[in-house]
Amino acid sequence: MMAIASTDTAIRSGRVTRTFLYLVLLLFALFYLLPFAIMVMNSMKPLDEITGGNMMAFPTDWTLEPWRKAWSEAQVGVDATGLRPYFYNSLIMAIPAVMLSTFFGALNGYVLTKWQFRGHNIVFGLLLFSCFIPFQIVLIPMARMLGIFGLAGSTGGLILVHFVYGIGFTTLYFRNYYAAFPTELIRAAQIDGAGFFRIFWRILLPSSGPIIAVSFIWQFTNIWNDFLFGASFADFSSQPMTVALNNLVQSSTGVKEYNVHFAGAIYAAIPTLLVYIVAGRYFVRGLMAGSVKG
Protein backbone atom coordinates (compact mmCIF):
# COMPACT_ATOMS: atom_id res chain seq x y z
CA MET A 1 0.00 0.00 0.00
CA MET A 2 2.76 2.40 0.84
CA ALA A 3 5.69 0.92 -0.98
CA ILE A 4 7.78 3.69 -2.39
CA ALA A 5 6.56 3.95 -5.93
CA SER A 6 9.42 5.75 -7.56
CA THR A 7 11.33 2.61 -8.47
CA ASP A 8 9.37 2.73 -11.67
CA THR A 9 8.98 6.42 -12.25
CA ALA A 10 7.60 7.63 -15.50
CA ILE A 11 9.87 10.65 -15.68
CA ARG A 12 12.98 10.27 -17.78
CA SER A 13 15.75 12.80 -18.04
CA GLY A 14 19.01 13.26 -19.89
CA ARG A 15 22.58 13.32 -18.67
CA VAL A 16 22.94 17.10 -18.55
CA THR A 17 19.73 17.47 -16.61
CA ARG A 18 20.85 14.83 -14.16
CA THR A 19 24.18 16.54 -13.52
CA PHE A 20 22.26 19.73 -12.87
CA LEU A 21 19.93 17.89 -10.49
CA TYR A 22 22.80 16.45 -8.48
CA LEU A 23 24.50 19.82 -8.37
CA VAL A 24 21.45 21.60 -6.99
CA LEU A 25 20.75 18.84 -4.50
CA LEU A 26 24.31 18.85 -3.22
CA LEU A 27 24.36 22.64 -2.96
CA PHE A 28 21.29 22.51 -0.79
CA ALA A 29 22.82 19.75 1.29
CA LEU A 30 25.74 22.11 1.89
CA PHE A 31 23.34 24.89 2.91
CA TYR A 32 21.67 22.63 5.46
CA LEU A 33 24.88 21.20 6.81
CA LEU A 34 26.90 24.40 7.07
CA PRO A 35 25.64 25.84 10.37
CA PHE A 36 25.90 22.54 12.17
CA ALA A 37 29.30 21.78 10.71
CA ILE A 38 30.54 25.14 11.95
CA MET A 39 29.28 24.34 15.41
CA VAL A 40 31.01 20.99 15.48
CA MET A 41 34.22 22.46 14.15
CA ASN A 42 34.31 25.29 16.64
CA SER A 43 33.42 23.05 19.56
CA MET A 44 36.75 21.32 19.02
CA LYS A 45 38.86 24.47 19.10
CA PRO A 46 40.45 26.13 22.10
CA LEU A 47 38.68 29.40 22.93
CA ASP A 48 41.42 31.74 21.68
CA GLU A 49 41.25 30.15 18.24
CA ILE A 50 37.57 31.06 18.05
CA THR A 51 37.76 34.62 19.25
CA GLY A 52 40.92 35.38 17.29
CA GLY A 53 40.48 33.36 14.15
CA ASN A 54 38.34 32.29 11.26
CA MET A 55 35.22 30.36 12.19
CA MET A 56 35.27 28.44 8.94
CA ALA A 57 38.80 27.20 9.51
CA PHE A 58 39.49 23.75 10.84
CA PRO A 59 40.96 23.71 14.34
CA THR A 60 44.75 23.84 14.32
CA ASP A 61 44.78 22.46 17.81
CA TRP A 62 42.08 19.79 18.08
CA THR A 63 40.67 19.37 21.56
CA LEU A 64 37.82 17.54 23.23
CA GLU A 65 38.16 19.60 26.38
CA PRO A 66 35.01 21.72 25.66
CA TRP A 67 33.00 18.53 25.28
CA ARG A 68 34.19 17.16 28.59
CA LYS A 69 33.57 20.50 30.24
CA ALA A 70 30.05 20.94 28.89
CA TRP A 71 29.11 17.45 29.97
CA SER A 72 30.46 17.31 33.46
CA GLU A 73 31.78 20.56 34.84
CA ALA A 74 30.35 23.62 33.18
CA GLN A 75 28.70 26.15 35.44
CA VAL A 76 24.94 25.99 34.94
CA GLY A 77 24.02 26.94 38.49
CA VAL A 78 25.63 27.17 41.86
CA ASP A 79 27.24 23.77 41.41
CA ALA A 80 29.40 23.17 38.40
CA THR A 81 27.61 20.01 37.37
CA GLY A 82 27.72 20.34 33.63
CA LEU A 83 24.73 19.22 31.61
CA ARG A 84 24.79 15.56 32.66
CA PRO A 85 22.13 15.55 35.40
CA TYR A 86 19.76 17.58 33.22
CA PHE A 87 20.17 15.19 30.34
CA TYR A 88 18.80 12.47 32.56
CA ASN A 89 15.90 14.72 33.67
CA SER A 90 14.97 15.27 30.04
CA LEU A 91 15.03 11.57 29.27
CA ILE A 92 12.72 10.56 32.11
CA MET A 93 10.35 13.32 31.07
CA ALA A 94 10.38 12.85 27.30
CA ILE A 95 10.11 9.09 27.00
CA PRO A 96 6.91 8.55 29.03
CA ALA A 97 5.34 11.66 27.52
CA VAL A 98 6.07 10.48 23.97
CA MET A 99 4.80 6.98 24.66
CA LEU A 100 1.63 8.15 26.36
CA SER A 101 0.70 10.67 23.70
CA THR A 102 1.47 8.22 20.91
CA PHE A 103 -0.57 5.47 22.55
CA PHE A 104 -3.59 7.66 23.18
CA GLY A 105 -3.25 9.24 19.75
CA ALA A 106 -3.44 5.75 18.25
CA LEU A 107 -6.52 4.87 20.30
CA ASN A 108 -8.20 8.15 19.41
CA GLY A 109 -7.41 7.71 15.74
CA TYR A 110 -8.84 4.20 15.91
CA VAL A 111 -12.08 5.38 17.50
CA LEU A 112 -12.46 8.34 15.16
CA THR A 113 -12.15 6.20 12.04
CA LYS A 114 -13.46 2.76 12.90
CA TRP A 115 -16.00 3.43 15.65
CA GLN A 116 -17.49 6.64 14.41
CA PHE A 117 -20.34 8.15 16.31
CA ARG A 118 -22.53 11.19 15.83
CA GLY A 119 -20.39 14.30 16.09
CA HIS A 120 -17.08 12.50 15.62
CA ASN A 121 -16.04 15.18 13.15
CA ILE A 122 -16.65 17.93 15.66
CA VAL A 123 -14.62 16.10 18.29
CA PHE A 124 -11.81 15.66 15.84
CA GLY A 125 -11.97 19.28 14.74
CA LEU A 126 -11.72 20.44 18.33
CA LEU A 127 -8.78 18.14 19.01
CA LEU A 128 -7.02 19.33 15.89
CA PHE A 129 -7.54 23.02 16.53
CA SER A 130 -5.90 22.54 19.91
CA CYS A 131 -2.58 22.07 18.10
CA PHE A 132 -2.62 25.71 17.19
CA ILE A 133 -2.88 27.31 20.59
CA PRO A 134 0.12 29.57 21.33
CA PHE A 135 1.74 28.02 24.37
CA GLN A 136 2.47 31.31 26.09
CA ILE A 137 -1.17 31.86 26.92
CA VAL A 138 -1.54 28.61 28.83
CA LEU A 139 1.29 29.20 31.29
CA ILE A 140 -0.60 30.82 34.12
CA PRO A 141 -3.81 28.76 34.06
CA MET A 142 -1.77 25.58 33.56
CA ALA A 143 0.35 26.41 36.58
CA ARG A 144 -2.82 26.78 38.62
CA MET A 145 -4.12 23.41 37.42
CA LEU A 146 -0.87 21.64 38.16
CA GLY A 147 -1.01 23.11 41.64
CA ILE A 148 -4.54 21.79 42.11
CA PHE A 149 -3.51 18.32 40.90
CA GLY A 150 -0.47 18.34 43.18
CA LEU A 151 1.86 18.01 40.19
CA ALA A 152 3.55 21.40 40.45
CA GLY A 153 7.28 21.31 39.93
CA SER A 154 7.42 17.62 39.17
CA THR A 155 8.38 15.48 36.19
CA GLY A 156 4.85 14.06 36.34
CA GLY A 157 3.44 17.53 35.79
CA LEU A 158 5.66 18.07 32.75
CA ILE A 159 4.61 14.73 31.31
CA LEU A 160 0.96 15.74 31.69
CA VAL A 161 1.54 19.08 29.98
CA HIS A 162 3.36 17.55 27.05
CA PHE A 163 0.73 14.86 26.77
CA VAL A 164 -2.10 17.38 26.63
CA TYR A 165 -0.50 19.62 24.02
CA GLY A 166 0.71 16.71 21.90
CA ILE A 167 -2.48 14.70 21.73
CA GLY A 168 -3.96 16.83 18.93
CA PHE A 169 -1.04 16.08 16.62
CA THR A 170 -0.82 12.37 17.39
CA THR A 171 -4.57 11.98 16.95
CA LEU A 172 -4.32 13.72 13.57
CA TYR A 173 -1.55 11.42 12.38
CA PHE A 174 -3.21 8.20 13.47
CA ARG A 175 -6.67 9.21 12.29
CA ASN A 176 -5.44 9.92 8.79
CA TYR A 177 -3.43 6.73 8.74
CA TYR A 178 -6.24 4.51 9.96
CA ALA A 179 -8.72 6.17 7.60
CA ALA A 180 -6.94 4.34 4.78
CA PHE A 181 -7.06 1.02 6.62
CA PRO A 182 -9.68 -1.30 5.08
CA THR A 183 -12.74 -1.28 7.29
CA GLU A 184 -13.82 -4.70 5.95
CA LEU A 185 -11.02 -6.34 7.93
CA ILE A 186 -12.40 -4.82 11.10
CA ARG A 187 -15.94 -5.92 10.34
CA ALA A 188 -14.71 -9.43 9.61
CA ALA A 189 -12.88 -9.59 12.91
CA GLN A 190 -15.98 -8.34 14.66
CA ILE A 191 -18.04 -11.11 13.17
CA ASP A 192 -15.42 -13.53 14.47
CA GLY A 193 -16.19 -12.12 17.92
CA ALA A 194 -13.16 -9.91 18.41
CA GLY A 195 -13.82 -6.95 20.71
CA PHE A 196 -12.74 -3.32 20.60
CA PHE A 197 -9.32 -3.74 22.18
CA ARG A 198 -8.58 -7.08 20.58
CA ILE A 199 -9.00 -5.59 17.10
CA PHE A 200 -6.79 -2.69 18.05
CA TRP A 201 -3.99 -4.85 19.44
CA ARG A 202 -4.10 -7.65 16.89
CA ILE A 203 -5.02 -5.94 13.66
CA LEU A 204 -4.30 -2.22 13.69
CA LEU A 205 -1.23 -1.82 15.87
CA PRO A 206 0.91 -4.44 14.10
CA SER A 207 0.59 -2.52 10.84
CA SER A 208 1.09 0.93 12.33
CA GLY A 209 4.90 0.98 12.17
CA PRO A 210 5.43 3.99 9.88
CA ILE A 211 2.88 6.20 11.58
CA ILE A 212 4.23 5.33 15.01
CA ALA A 213 7.59 6.48 13.69
CA VAL A 214 6.10 9.79 12.54
CA SER A 215 4.32 10.36 15.82
CA PHE A 216 7.41 9.38 17.79
CA ILE A 217 9.71 11.68 15.83
CA TRP A 218 7.32 14.60 16.01
CA GLN A 219 6.58 14.26 19.70
CA PHE A 220 10.10 13.47 20.78
CA THR A 221 11.50 16.46 18.91
CA ASN A 222 8.93 18.84 20.31
CA ILE A 223 9.17 17.61 23.88
CA TRP A 224 12.91 17.28 23.98
CA ASN A 225 13.40 20.77 22.56
CA ASP A 226 10.75 22.50 24.63
CA PHE A 227 12.04 25.32 26.79
CA LEU A 228 8.98 27.27 27.90
CA PHE A 229 7.18 24.50 29.77
CA GLY A 230 10.41 23.02 31.09
CA ALA A 231 11.47 26.32 32.58
CA SER A 232 8.07 27.22 33.98
CA PHE A 233 6.76 23.97 35.41
CA ALA A 234 9.92 22.25 36.63
CA ASP A 235 11.59 22.79 39.96
CA PHE A 236 15.19 22.32 41.01
CA SER A 237 15.03 18.54 40.71
CA SER A 238 13.31 18.22 37.35
CA GLN A 239 14.74 20.95 35.12
CA PRO A 240 15.28 19.61 31.62
CA MET A 241 18.29 19.89 29.35
CA THR A 242 17.09 22.93 27.42
CA VAL A 243 16.84 25.00 30.59
CA ALA A 244 20.36 24.02 31.60
CA LEU A 245 21.67 24.73 28.13
CA ASN A 246 20.01 28.13 28.24
CA ASN A 247 21.65 28.80 31.62
CA LEU A 248 24.98 27.88 30.12
CA VAL A 249 24.59 30.01 27.00
CA GLN A 250 22.86 33.00 28.58
CA SER A 251 25.00 33.43 31.66
CA SER A 252 25.16 37.13 32.20
CA THR A 253 28.71 37.91 33.16
CA GLY A 254 32.12 36.48 32.64
CA VAL A 255 33.99 35.14 29.66
CA LYS A 256 31.72 33.45 27.15
CA GLU A 257 33.18 30.06 26.37
CA TYR A 258 31.74 29.63 22.91
CA ASN A 259 33.39 26.28 22.35
CA VAL A 260 31.74 24.92 25.50
CA HIS A 261 28.42 26.45 24.45
CA PHE A 262 28.61 24.71 21.09
CA ALA A 263 29.55 21.40 22.63
CA GLY A 264 26.61 21.75 25.03
CA ALA A 265 24.26 22.61 22.19
CA ILE A 266 25.37 19.51 20.30
CA TYR A 267 24.80 17.32 23.36
CA ALA A 268 21.29 18.72 23.53
CA ALA A 269 20.78 17.88 19.87
CA ILE A 270 22.20 14.34 19.86
CA PRO A 271 19.07 12.43 20.95
CA THR A 272 16.80 14.14 18.43
CA LEU A 273 19.38 13.76 15.67
CA LEU A 274 19.66 10.06 16.45
CA VAL A 275 15.92 9.70 16.26
CA TYR A 276 15.87 11.39 12.87
CA ILE A 277 18.70 9.32 11.50
CA VAL A 278 17.39 6.00 12.79
CA ALA A 279 13.68 6.50 12.23
CA GLY A 280 13.90 9.10 9.47
CA ARG A 281 13.42 6.64 6.64
CA TYR A 282 9.98 5.77 7.96
CA PHE A 283 9.14 9.43 8.11
CA VAL A 284 8.27 10.07 4.48
CA ARG A 285 6.50 6.74 4.29
CA GLY A 286 4.47 7.55 7.38
CA LEU A 287 3.65 11.04 6.16
CA MET A 288 2.64 9.64 2.81
CA ALA A 289 0.11 7.35 4.38
CA GLY A 290 -0.78 9.78 7.12
CA SER A 291 -1.09 13.48 7.03
CA VAL A 292 -0.86 14.10 3.32
CA LYS A 293 -3.27 11.74 1.71
CA GLY A 294 -5.81 12.17 4.48
Binding site: Y32, P35, I38, N121, G125
Partner: protein, 297 residues
Protein backbone atom coordinates in the same frame (compact mmCIF):
# COMPACT_ATOMS: atom_id res chain seq x y z
CA UNK B 1 -33.70 -14.41 29.49
CA UNK B 2 -30.60 -13.81 31.59
CA UNK B 3 -28.59 -14.69 28.54
CA UNK B 4 -30.03 -11.99 26.33
CA UNK B 5 -29.66 -9.44 29.12
CA UNK B 6 -25.98 -10.26 29.28
CA UNK B 7 -25.58 -9.94 25.55
CA UNK B 8 -27.40 -6.66 25.73
CA UNK B 9 -25.01 -5.42 28.36
CA UNK B 10 -22.07 -6.55 26.30
CA UNK B 11 -23.20 -4.82 23.14
CA UNK B 12 -24.04 -1.74 25.09
CA UNK B 13 -20.60 -1.77 26.64
CA UNK B 14 -19.11 -2.26 23.18
CA UNK B 15 -21.09 0.73 22.01
CA UNK B 16 -19.91 2.87 24.85
CA UNK B 17 -16.31 1.72 24.89
CA UNK B 18 -15.04 3.85 21.97
CA UNK B 19 -16.48 6.95 23.54
CA UNK B 20 -15.02 6.03 26.91
CA UNK B 21 -11.61 5.59 25.32
CA UNK B 22 -11.81 8.96 23.63
CA UNK B 23 -13.26 10.75 26.64
CA UNK B 24 -10.09 11.39 28.69
CA UNK B 25 -8.24 13.05 25.80
CA UNK B 26 -11.27 15.04 24.84
CA UNK B 27 -11.97 16.17 28.38
CA UNK B 28 -8.38 17.25 28.85
CA UNK B 29 -8.36 19.22 25.63
CA UNK B 30 -11.65 20.89 26.57
CA UNK B 31 -10.22 21.98 29.88
CA UNK B 32 -6.60 22.70 29.01
CA UNK B 33 -7.17 24.27 25.63
CA UNK B 34 -10.68 25.65 25.37
CA UNK B 35 -11.01 26.40 29.06
CA UNK B 36 -7.75 28.31 28.97
CA UNK B 37 -8.74 30.16 25.82
CA UNK B 38 -11.93 31.27 27.54
CA UNK B 39 -9.88 32.35 30.53
CA UNK B 40 -7.57 34.38 28.29
CA UNK B 41 -10.50 36.06 26.59
CA UNK B 42 -11.83 36.96 30.00
CA UNK B 43 -8.44 38.28 31.16
CA UNK B 44 -8.27 40.55 28.14
CA UNK B 45 -11.20 42.52 29.58
CA UNK B 46 -9.66 42.88 33.03
CA UNK B 47 -7.07 45.08 34.69
CA UNK B 48 -4.68 42.16 35.27
CA UNK B 49 -1.07 43.19 35.62
CA UNK B 50 1.42 40.96 37.44
CA UNK B 51 -1.05 38.14 38.16
CA UNK B 52 -4.62 37.63 36.96
CA UNK B 53 -7.02 40.00 38.66
CA UNK B 54 -10.69 40.40 38.02
CA UNK B 55 -11.46 44.11 37.75
CA UNK B 56 -13.51 44.62 34.59
CA UNK B 57 -12.20 47.33 32.26
CA UNK B 58 -14.13 46.60 29.08
CA UNK B 59 -12.29 47.25 25.84
CA UNK B 60 -9.57 49.42 27.34
CA UNK B 61 -6.81 46.85 26.75
CA UNK B 62 -7.74 46.56 23.09
CA UNK B 63 -7.76 50.33 22.70
CA UNK B 64 -4.29 50.53 24.21
CA UNK B 65 -3.09 47.65 22.10
CA UNK B 66 -3.99 49.36 18.86
CA UNK B 67 -2.41 52.61 19.97
CA UNK B 68 0.94 50.87 20.49
CA UNK B 69 3.39 51.37 17.67
CA UNK B 70 5.17 48.29 18.95
CA UNK B 71 2.12 46.14 18.15
CA UNK B 72 1.79 47.57 14.66
CA UNK B 73 5.43 46.68 14.00
CA UNK B 74 4.83 43.17 15.29
CA UNK B 75 1.79 42.65 13.07
CA UNK B 76 3.42 43.97 9.92
CA UNK B 77 6.53 41.90 10.66
CA UNK B 78 4.37 38.82 10.94
CA UNK B 79 2.82 39.56 7.57
CA UNK B 80 6.23 39.87 5.92
CA UNK B 81 7.64 36.91 7.79
CA UNK B 82 4.71 34.57 7.22
CA UNK B 83 4.38 35.28 3.50
CA UNK B 84 8.08 34.86 2.81
CA UNK B 85 8.58 31.94 5.16
CA UNK B 86 5.62 29.93 3.91
CA UNK B 87 6.28 30.84 0.28
CA UNK B 88 10.01 30.13 0.24
CA UNK B 89 9.79 26.99 2.37
CA UNK B 90 7.11 25.57 0.09
CA UNK B 91 9.03 26.45 -3.06
CA UNK B 92 12.31 24.99 -1.85
CA UNK B 93 10.50 22.00 -0.41
CA UNK B 94 8.66 21.34 -3.67
CA UNK B 95 11.78 21.77 -5.76
CA UNK B 96 13.86 19.45 -3.60
CA UNK B 97 11.07 16.89 -3.53
CA UNK B 98 10.72 16.89 -7.34
CA UNK B 99 14.48 16.64 -7.79
CA UNK B 100 14.79 13.87 -5.20
CA UNK B 101 12.04 11.97 -6.95
CA UNK B 102 14.22 11.42 -10.05
CA UNK B 103 15.77 8.16 -8.85
CA UNK B 104 18.61 9.93 -7.08
CA UNK B 105 21.26 7.47 -5.93
CA UNK B 106 21.90 8.93 -2.48
CA UNK B 107 18.31 9.89 -1.79
CA UNK B 108 18.22 8.46 1.72
CA UNK B 109 21.27 10.38 2.88
CA UNK B 110 20.12 13.63 1.26
CA UNK B 111 16.69 13.31 2.80
CA UNK B 112 18.20 12.99 6.25
CA UNK B 113 20.42 16.01 5.63
CA UNK B 114 17.45 18.12 4.50
CA UNK B 115 15.33 17.02 7.42
CA UNK B 116 17.75 17.21 10.31
CA UNK B 117 17.43 20.97 11.05
CA UNK B 118 13.88 20.22 12.20
CA UNK B 119 15.40 18.10 14.97
CA UNK B 120 17.38 20.97 16.46
CA UNK B 121 16.12 23.20 19.21
CA UNK B 122 15.87 26.95 18.81
CA UNK B 123 18.84 27.54 21.06
CA UNK B 124 21.01 25.52 18.71
CA UNK B 125 19.57 27.09 15.56
CA UNK B 126 19.67 30.57 17.03
CA UNK B 127 23.26 30.44 18.26
CA UNK B 128 24.55 28.90 15.05
CA UNK B 129 22.84 31.42 12.77
CA UNK B 130 23.61 34.36 15.01
CA UNK B 131 27.23 33.48 14.51
CA UNK B 132 27.05 32.95 10.81
CA UNK B 133 25.20 36.20 10.23
CA UNK B 134 27.27 38.38 12.53
CA UNK B 135 29.42 40.55 10.27
CA UNK B 136 32.19 40.68 12.88
CA UNK B 137 32.77 36.94 13.20
CA UNK B 138 30.59 35.21 10.63
CA UNK B 139 30.27 34.98 6.90
CA UNK B 140 31.35 38.54 6.15
CA UNK B 141 34.44 38.24 8.33
CA UNK B 142 35.35 34.92 6.74
CA UNK B 143 34.99 36.30 3.24
CA UNK B 144 37.23 39.21 4.20
CA UNK B 145 39.83 36.77 5.55
CA UNK B 146 39.61 34.83 2.30
CA UNK B 147 40.38 37.98 0.39
CA UNK B 148 36.95 39.14 -0.80
CA UNK B 149 37.16 42.40 1.10
CA UNK B 150 34.21 44.15 -0.49
CA UNK B 151 31.81 41.41 0.58
CA UNK B 152 29.15 42.79 2.86
CA UNK B 153 26.36 40.95 4.62
CA UNK B 154 25.15 42.80 7.69
CA UNK B 155 21.38 42.32 7.49
CA UNK B 156 21.11 41.15 11.07
CA UNK B 157 22.41 44.54 12.24
CA UNK B 158 20.09 46.54 10.01
CA UNK B 159 16.60 47.43 11.20
CA UNK B 160 15.19 47.24 7.68
CA UNK B 161 16.65 43.86 6.79
CA UNK B 162 16.88 41.99 10.10
CA UNK B 163 13.47 40.38 9.65
CA UNK B 164 14.79 38.66 6.51
CA UNK B 165 17.51 36.96 8.53
CA UNK B 166 14.78 35.51 10.72
CA UNK B 167 13.11 34.26 7.52
CA UNK B 168 16.41 32.75 6.39
CA UNK B 169 16.97 30.79 9.60
CA UNK B 170 13.34 29.70 9.75
CA UNK B 171 13.40 28.50 6.14
CA UNK B 172 16.60 26.62 6.89
CA UNK B 173 14.91 24.90 9.77
CA UNK B 174 11.66 23.81 8.18
CA UNK B 175 11.97 23.67 4.39
CA UNK B 176 13.18 20.08 4.78
CA UNK B 177 9.92 19.25 6.48
CA UNK B 178 8.01 20.74 3.55
CA UNK B 179 10.21 18.64 1.27
CA UNK B 180 9.18 15.48 3.14
CA UNK B 181 5.50 16.30 2.77
CA UNK B 182 5.76 17.01 -0.96
CA UNK B 183 7.86 13.91 -1.47
CA UNK B 184 5.24 11.85 0.29
CA UNK B 185 2.63 13.43 -1.97
CA UNK B 186 4.68 12.69 -5.11
CA UNK B 187 5.13 9.07 -4.10
CA UNK B 188 1.40 8.73 -3.76
CA UNK B 189 0.68 9.67 -7.40
CA UNK B 190 -0.32 6.87 -9.69
CA UNK B 191 2.41 6.20 -12.22
CA UNK B 192 0.02 4.80 -14.79
CA UNK B 193 -1.57 8.19 -15.38
CA UNK B 194 1.84 9.69 -15.98
CA UNK B 195 2.82 6.99 -18.40
CA UNK B 196 -0.37 7.45 -20.32
CA UNK B 197 0.20 11.18 -20.54
CA UNK B 198 3.76 10.61 -21.68
CA UNK B 199 2.55 8.40 -24.46
CA UNK B 200 0.36 11.27 -25.57
CA UNK B 201 3.61 13.19 -26.02
CA UNK B 202 3.59 15.38 -22.94
CA UNK B 203 6.97 16.83 -21.96
CA UNK B 204 8.31 16.57 -18.42
CA UNK B 205 7.49 20.18 -17.80
CA UNK B 206 3.91 19.75 -18.96
CA UNK B 207 3.65 16.58 -16.92
CA UNK B 208 4.54 18.43 -13.74
CA UNK B 209 2.53 21.53 -14.46
CA UNK B 210 -0.63 19.88 -15.72
CA UNK B 211 -0.81 16.61 -13.82
CA UNK B 212 1.56 16.19 -10.92
CA UNK B 213 1.46 19.55 -9.16
CA UNK B 214 -2.34 19.81 -9.28
CA UNK B 215 -2.48 16.36 -7.68
CA UNK B 216 -0.34 17.61 -4.81
CA UNK B 217 -3.17 19.75 -3.51
CA UNK B 218 -3.50 17.85 -0.21
CA UNK B 219 0.25 18.09 0.35
CA UNK B 220 0.13 21.84 -0.29
CA UNK B 221 -2.70 22.21 2.17
CA UNK B 222 -0.93 20.19 4.87
CA UNK B 223 2.28 22.12 4.32
CA UNK B 224 0.41 25.40 4.43
CA UNK B 225 -1.32 24.53 7.69
CA UNK B 226 1.82 23.29 9.42
CA UNK B 227 3.97 26.16 8.18
CA UNK B 228 1.42 28.84 8.98
CA UNK B 229 0.99 27.53 12.48
CA UNK B 230 4.77 27.53 12.93
CA UNK B 231 4.89 31.09 11.60
CA UNK B 232 2.24 32.40 13.96
CA UNK B 233 3.78 30.64 16.93
CA UNK B 234 7.35 31.71 16.04
CA UNK B 235 8.86 32.90 19.25
CA UNK B 236 11.95 30.94 20.18
CA UNK B 237 13.85 31.63 17.02
CA UNK B 238 13.40 35.40 17.19
CA UNK B 239 14.49 35.45 20.82
CA UNK B 240 17.57 33.36 20.12
CA UNK B 241 18.53 35.09 16.89
CA UNK B 242 17.87 38.80 17.34
CA UNK B 243 16.11 39.20 20.69
CA UNK B 244 13.55 41.25 18.78
CA UNK B 245 16.14 43.80 17.70
CA UNK B 246 17.78 45.88 16.35
CA UNK B 247 15.57 48.20 18.36
CA UNK B 248 12.22 46.45 18.05
CA UNK B 249 12.62 45.68 14.36
CA UNK B 250 12.04 41.92 14.50
CA UNK B 251 9.31 41.80 17.13
CA UNK B 252 6.48 39.39 16.27
CA UNK B 253 3.04 39.04 17.89
CA UNK B 254 4.20 36.01 19.88
CA UNK B 255 7.18 37.87 21.35
CA UNK B 256 4.97 40.90 21.93
CA UNK B 257 2.45 38.86 23.84
CA UNK B 258 5.10 37.19 25.95
CA UNK B 259 6.80 40.41 26.89
CA UNK B 260 3.59 42.22 27.81
CA UNK B 261 2.27 39.31 29.80
CA UNK B 262 5.39 38.31 31.64
CA UNK B 263 8.07 40.96 31.64
CA UNK B 264 6.09 44.18 31.40
CA UNK B 265 3.49 43.17 33.95
CA UNK B 266 0.62 44.19 31.66
CA UNK B 267 -1.14 40.89 31.52
CA UNK B 268 -4.36 42.51 30.30
CA UNK B 269 -2.74 43.90 27.14
CA UNK B 270 -0.85 40.64 26.69
CA UNK B 271 -4.13 38.72 26.86
CA UNK B 272 -5.80 41.02 24.35
CA UNK B 273 -2.95 40.46 21.88
CA UNK B 274 -3.31 36.70 22.44
CA UNK B 275 -7.00 36.95 21.59
CA UNK B 276 -6.19 38.74 18.34
CA UNK B 277 -3.69 36.00 17.52
CA UNK B 278 -6.23 33.29 18.25
CA UNK B 279 -8.79 34.99 16.03
CA UNK B 280 -6.22 35.08 13.23
CA UNK B 281 -5.43 31.40 13.66
CA UNK B 282 -9.10 30.55 13.70
CA UNK B 283 -9.67 32.58 10.55
CA UNK B 284 -7.11 30.42 8.75
CA UNK B 285 -7.87 27.09 10.36
CA UNK B 286 -11.65 26.91 10.63
CA UNK B 287 -12.35 27.12 6.87
CA UNK B 288 -9.61 24.56 6.27
CA UNK B 289 -10.93 22.16 8.87
CA UNK B 290 -14.46 22.65 7.65
CA UNK B 291 -13.54 21.84 4.08
CA UNK B 292 -11.37 18.90 5.08
CA UNK B 293 -13.90 17.28 7.32
CA UNK B 294 -16.84 17.85 5.04
CA UNK B 295 -15.03 16.21 2.16
CA UNK B 296 -14.42 13.10 4.21
CA UNK B 297 -18.10 12.40 4.78
Amino acid sequence: MADTAQVDLRTRLQNWLPKLVLAPSFAMVLLFVYGFIAFTVYLSFTDSRILPSYGWVGLENYEKLFRLRHWKIAVSNLAVFAILYIGISSLIGLMLAIFLDQKIRIEGALRTVYLYPMALSFIVTGTAWKWLLDPGIGLEHTMHLWGWTTFSFDWIKNSDYAIYTVVLAAVWQSSGFAMAMFLAGLRGIDNEILKAAQMDGASNWQLYRRIIIPQLRPAFLSAFVILSHLAIKSYDLVIALTGGGPGRATELPATFMYSYTFTRNQMGIGASSAVIMLITIAAIMVPYLYAELKEKK
